[in-house]
Symmetry: C2
Subunit: 83 residues, 2 copies
């Protein structure tokens, strides 16, 4: 079944407290050299049937309305993986 992977990240101008917490924890645990961390979301959608341009356009709309909050997040990528 083909899979569409949707990548969502907080907009660059939005504060990301989860990412900041991870960035602060890394050196405490001995991992040095990381300037910053941002945390977003990754969705894997199993699609019934073929991923046509139409299906992909519909999924992009879903990604921008349901999977992300357009006020604070960007859909940074939409990838099709055949399986």
């Amino acid at each position: 079944m083909p899979r569409v992977v949707v990548h969502v990240m907080p907009k660059p101008e939005i504060l990301d407290p989860q990412g900041k917490a991870v960035a602060a924890a890394l050196p405490r645990l001995g991992f040095e050299g990381i300037a910053s961390v941002r945390q977003g979301k990754r969705f894997e959608l199993e699609v019934e049937g073929e991923v046509t341009d139409e299906v992909l356009a519909s999924l992009r709309e879903a990604a921008e309305t349901l999977l992300s909050n357009p006020v604070i997040e960007d859909v940074v990528a939409l990838e099709v993986e055949d399986a």
Copy 2:
């Protein structure tokens, strides 16, 4: 500054209530044809200096210990993006 992107997903055998909620919401909002949804995390780490094999190995360890919970999650990919 080079960037390492870490992709974390719930293990296949782990129930994913967030993904199930999204999968249930999609048809209500008019998006049909999605068999299942799983929700994971995506981290973008800005690395100071070059991403050597050593740095990448250290980041993989960080990904598997700090960025994911190895009991319920898998690090499905670690990508290097030069910027």
